[in-house]
Amino acid sequence: MLCDICKKNPATVHLTEIIDEQMNELHLCEDCARNKSAAMEQQFGLSDLLAGMADFEKPDKDEENVAVKCPNCNLTYADFKKIGRLGCGGCYNAFRKYLAPLLKRIHGSNQHVGKSPLIKEKVISKPGRKKMDLEGLKAGMQKAIQREDFEEAARLRDQIKKLSSEQGSGVKES
């Protein structure tokens, strides 16, 4: 299929526009798609934009990061750069090294503040739940050390420290 605008290059971008109730399908080559008005750009711009942002991540080491794969869903970092969407929650751990700076650029921060789904559980069940968490974290840290992911290991170590001290104070109270 050839591009609807230049009628020369093959159409690789397919768009559905809705203007005044009329649905309109457009098949464009990349160049013409890019040249289309700023208003249109908004519609297919997000993944491009994200991919672009992800791209300035250490351009020299590009080859190294694109091959990283999420062990849970098999999405590669190259896939993410292409589609602008992550594959599953596991991707955030798998691509942590690249995502942390990207999130910082998008949001101005990469540290969540606010609600967590565990709050209620933590309030209801105390020491038992924490002991389990602690064991899980320790196992996770060992695994991280084995695969030489020291950043992750350090993060888990800090969490273990925090949790152990909280648990200590909890025991004293009871």
Binding site: R85, H107, S109, N110, Q111, H112, V113, K115, P117
Partner: protein, 350 residues
Amino acid sequence: MKIDDLLNHTSEWLKGTGPNSDIVISSRIRLARNLNKYPFPHWASKIQLEEVLAKISDAALKIDMLKSSTLFKLADLDAIDKQFLVERHLMSIEHSQKTDYKALLVDDEEIIAVMINEEDHLRIQLMQSGFNLFEARDIINRLDDALAGLLDYAYLDDFGYLTACPTNTGTGMRGSVMLHLPALVMSRQIERVLAAIAKLSFTTRGLYGEGTQASGNFFQISNQVSLGHGEDEIIENINGLIRQIIEQETQARQILLSKNKEVLEDRINRSLGILKSARIITSQETIELLSMVRLGSDLGMIKDIDRRTINELFIITQPAHLQKLENKKLSSDERDLKRAQLIRKKLNLL
């Protein structure tokens, strides 16, 4: 509840009640949530999507707050029904496309709407009439907690709630307020206001959310950043910003009234005149004229038409609503005729 039942019902957010409802149409909060381990919808297999849908619908059945809700499977709906739900702001345009294993959960009052398997597994939305973000936050928080008790959310301590698109990561929360700003538009101050909003990392969108143009002086303003600020802080920030915009619109209205009263009165009454007598009218023209009539009603220049009637007209004159009211498919030309007829009937009866 059937989809057709919604047709004769006024959504809570259209009632034209609530604080500052002369300028603020509605307040909305949405949360993006995903199930742990399952790939996000765009990356999931059919079987996984089916499992996600089953898990979420099972959980929803157990929640008291969702007792009066109905689950619609998108694949079972025809094109008009899907567009109808979009027009009522119950779901996104994106949700009406590629409908396999997508569903929408809506409560009878149309306050709660949960999209299942849209960009994220769950998009929980809460809509209130008027300027009411804090109440919306309290309700959606309770619903989110109830769901979190039954579902295992994808969450990390440092990144927060994990979403398909990294622009939603963190709180997964977007708060938006729909504003009617005719005086700022007429006095050509709107560009300045919108530029200031963008600088503060808020976005402005049209009536139907992402990618839609602002029309009829309606603007939807929402937060852009979802990570690094707590939910309450984000809501406080939007609240403060909206308060300022309300003040500016109020001032602009007062200035128009004191300096250009005749011109304003003329424009408002001409708009009403066209709506009461036109035989053919597009939805775009309808929105623009109704916007003026709404302003007239807010300023007390039009006394016999209330806000709720005007709000309702905005919705029932939309293409899918017209076709459902007529109970058949209508071409664009046929719709323009029927639309004019419906508006005449509603406004001349008053």
